[in-house]
Symmetry: C2
Subunit: 221 residues, 2 copies
DNA sequence: CGATAAGTGGAAGAGGGTGTGCGTTTGCAG
DNA sequence: CTGCAAACGCACACCCTCTTCCACTTATCG
């Protein structure tokens, strides 16, 4: 299928020629993991995934030494979509519309697939191919926010970390059944977006220090 | 201390006269649980709580047959505060201010104590003494929302389930370190409250079907 | 077709959390 | 002060998840 995606550079050279049956099992595993991550979250027991795929746990471990690797492969596509989405939104001639689209689309992805938030917020650090992509995303996001503000489409005290705040919040909603999660996410995002428009609104409390690095450690004080 | 609080009616009659040492251990356990629930969430291993309290796990199980019982006792006070808070806010002559106060105060409690959300959202059903209190709270909340709308302090399409939506969202923020969690909660609530004021705002997407019953089952599709 | 290396599943063990039976200690009342 | 029921902790059994070992199977290439 779409195997030759963003191959990890240091494991790519060996030109991993899997045997046909191994490749099939690999695909079954990814497929099973995709379903289970979406419905039950990113923490489903690996044995459950193996059973669903119809292979033994050992096979899963042989193919994916760490859970992280499986997560990365499962969400590689969607994570890629996110990147290109950001790129497109960031390049939108109407930055206000770009930001709205970005938020609505990403939160919708979160609500659709329960595990996606985990991968996105990088509770499993290897999922996104590390800091490079994140730094760039953060940079683009800041730029988009500033441009929206300059264009008068966004209140001046909107902070780029408010986006992370929203992603975190929507993550909680994703635990609900899909229809509820989506409705809830749409509603919450709509509230925030409406309040984020410039106008004679009262000042906001200071932004939460939700910088990039903060999100990457697992929940846990 | 404040032992004779909301004693469960069906265990009260025996006039549980605990031996002095047993009572002391009981208090140590509640104290330890309170701290650990606040910092590490409601799911900390019971053995950790026992160790922190300086007693054996068996003693914990003897005193609190189910985790739920411990949660109930630990958060009884704060849950009681919530009830009286709702009562006060609901009786506020300015319903808009009442609703604002209600939301700001409860979400602040969520952000301060990580486990509180769990007890409040009743992931552990016995925590709140069952449906009676909840039904009443739901009823009062609906009334408060309607009155705020009638008073012109709240947009007509605000739905009482939006409150649950917000509680759910803030729950996720509570996993962050306390200062961040509080700042984030304040910020999110401020956004929603500002957007919730009546005005020439665009219509919202339909409310999420987050009825009472929905919140009570644990997260898990 | 047959040799060989890649691939597989079952079984077993390590680790952590929950829950319990039992012999011992201890508060307290007579 | 003494006896006993209450309370305690140890130690263990159970379950679940992760992880690895090893003997067996099978795809593939010559």
């Amino acid at each position: 299928m779409e195997r030759p995606h963003s191959q990890n550079p240091k494991t790519a050279p060996p030109a991993t020629h899997l045997r046909a049956d191994a490749q099939a099992n690999h695909d079954l595993l990814v497929e099973a993991a995709r379903e289970l991550f979406s419905t039950h979250g990113i923490d489903v027991p690996l044995s459950t995934i193996a059973r669903r795929a119809g292979v033994s746990a050992a096979t899963l471990y042989r193919r994916f030494p760490a859970r992280e690797a499986l997560v990365a492969e499962v969400f590689a596509e969607q994570l890629g979509e996110c990147e290109s989405l950001l790129e497109r939104c960031q390049a939108d001639e109407d930055p206000g519309r770009g930001l709205r689209r970005l938020l609505m689309t990403i939160t919708d992805m979160q609500a659709r697939s329960r595990g996606f938030s985990g991968a996105l917020l990088a509770r499993y650090p290897g999922a996104i191919d590390l800091d490079a992509t994140r730094e760039r995303a953060d940079h683009d996001l800041r730029g988009l926010v500033r441009r929206a503000q300059d264009a008068g489409a966004l209140r001046p005290d909107f902070d780029h970390t408010d986006v992370y705040l929203l992603l975190l919040a929507v993550d909680a909603l994703a635990a609900q059944p899909p229809e509820i999660a989506q409705a809830a996410a749409r509603r919450l995002v709509a509230y925030v977006l409406q309040a984020a428009r410039p106008g004679r609104a009262a000042p906001l409390p200071p932004p939460a220090p939700l910088e990039l690095a903060v999100l990457h450690q697992d929940q846990g004080r």
